[in-house]
Symmetry: C2
Subunit: 229 residues, 2 copies
């Protein structure tokens, strides 16, 4: 990371994190020794806020408590849409019914989902991710959610605009074959898959996503990028 | 109902009720003055039990507490499938994650759903029905649930077998255009929609289900049936 920054290349962190504000997400990474600041992060909640403002939407929030501060400046009175994130313990029967009632009460229900992940692993086991609850509300209200976050094309486009570069000038480095590599490529960017984290050997036979390159770790990706400057 | 029974015609009550055992369901109807007994009721839980026994399946149950006695005789050790019903207050974050973990841990996940309803109304408002939670688990595990209950063809076939009649000899009377009328017709039965309960005038323009007749109430349906004997 430090070598990329020293080279003068523009850099952006694209995360689907919706259990914490960018502030807390950045603090955590800083604690791990990363040189990162809030204004270098592209995340679903601020992307959703931009959409809400542009379209005059007032959300009913079904999100994690720790994410609520990201929506501080958004008008939430008389909601005319529902925003769903990985609400974790907030995915109660009562909260799901409430979000459903708000949605079904609209003439044309608008559901915005901060991701479409199926599940993820925590220390105490696998957990259903926001995508599963999104599907439940989609089915109940016969509506299609608008997904913010990777792999949505608009999410990568936001990151490019924030950096002020074209897709052809950018390269995505990520461990997730569909959300990172596939999403970036659909946006016209090149994408490298890192063989760490979420990477699985079977990703290399993925039916429709093929990375432009593989690297064994982030340092190797940086080597290759800097060599080609 | 009494006139049908007096005529000697065979009769069967087909319900998607999964928040109570047949015993309690029947008690409630008896309390309302209906002449009905447990062995006249076709319901999703006993239908699911038949499937479980036939296929040697041991369920992990995500159902309403009041439905659990229906599964008393079923082996539930080392589950190799998940059965989901309208669990209502049992649809907690923890219970949904647990059912998900059981499913995703199987080589070939088997999910049996006691219905596919989207939502229903209670005195305190609309509630998400089992179908929404079924969709969440289907998406998370990339599996298709096997639906027991109306409008599943197999459910109506069970009722016909229990009565010992062919589809051509039977007639379904119900208020739900898709679950009652559509389901029975797919099974080769004729079906009458009653303009009470769930009936909505827009049902009469339904895109793909057309009842064989409409009646204003159950008594009118009985009149017509008895006239044609």
């Amino acid at each position: 990371l430090n070598r990329i920054k020293a080279s003068g290349l523009k850099l952006r962190f694209c995360t689907n994190e919706t259990q914490a504000t960018r502030e807390n997400f950045v603090k955590k990474l800083q604690g791990l020794g990363f040189d990162i600041s809030v204004d270098e992060v592209t995340a679903p909640a601020p992307a959703a806020c931009r959409i809400l403002k542009e379209r005059g939407l007032r959300p009913h929030l079904l999100v994690h408590d720790d994410l609520i501060p990201e929506f501080a400046e958004i008008d939430k009175a008389n909601p005319n849409c529902v925003v769903i994130g990985d609400a974790a313990e907030n995915f109660t029967y009562a909260n799901l019914n409430e979000a459903f009632r708000v949605l079904i009460g609209m003439e044309k229900p608008v559901l915005i989902s901060l991701g479409r992940g199926r599940y993820y692993k925590e220390t105490d086991g696998l957990k259903l991710d926001v995508g599963a609850y999104m599907k439940a509300l989609e089915y109940a209200c016969d509506v299609q959610a608008e997904v913010v976050g990777k792999p949505a094309k608009m999410f990568f486009e936001s990151a490019l605009v924030e950096m002020g570069v074209t897709p052809q000038e950018a390269i995505m480095i990520g461990d997730d074959i569909v959300n990172d590599v596939g999403g970036a490529q659909q946006c016209g960017m090149r994408a490298v898959q890192v063989r760490t984290g979420k990477y699985r050997p079977c990703d290399e036979n993925h039916p429709y996503v093929k990375p432009d390159a593989y690297v064994d770790n982030l340092a190797e990706a940086v080597d290759i990028i800097l060599q080609q400057l």
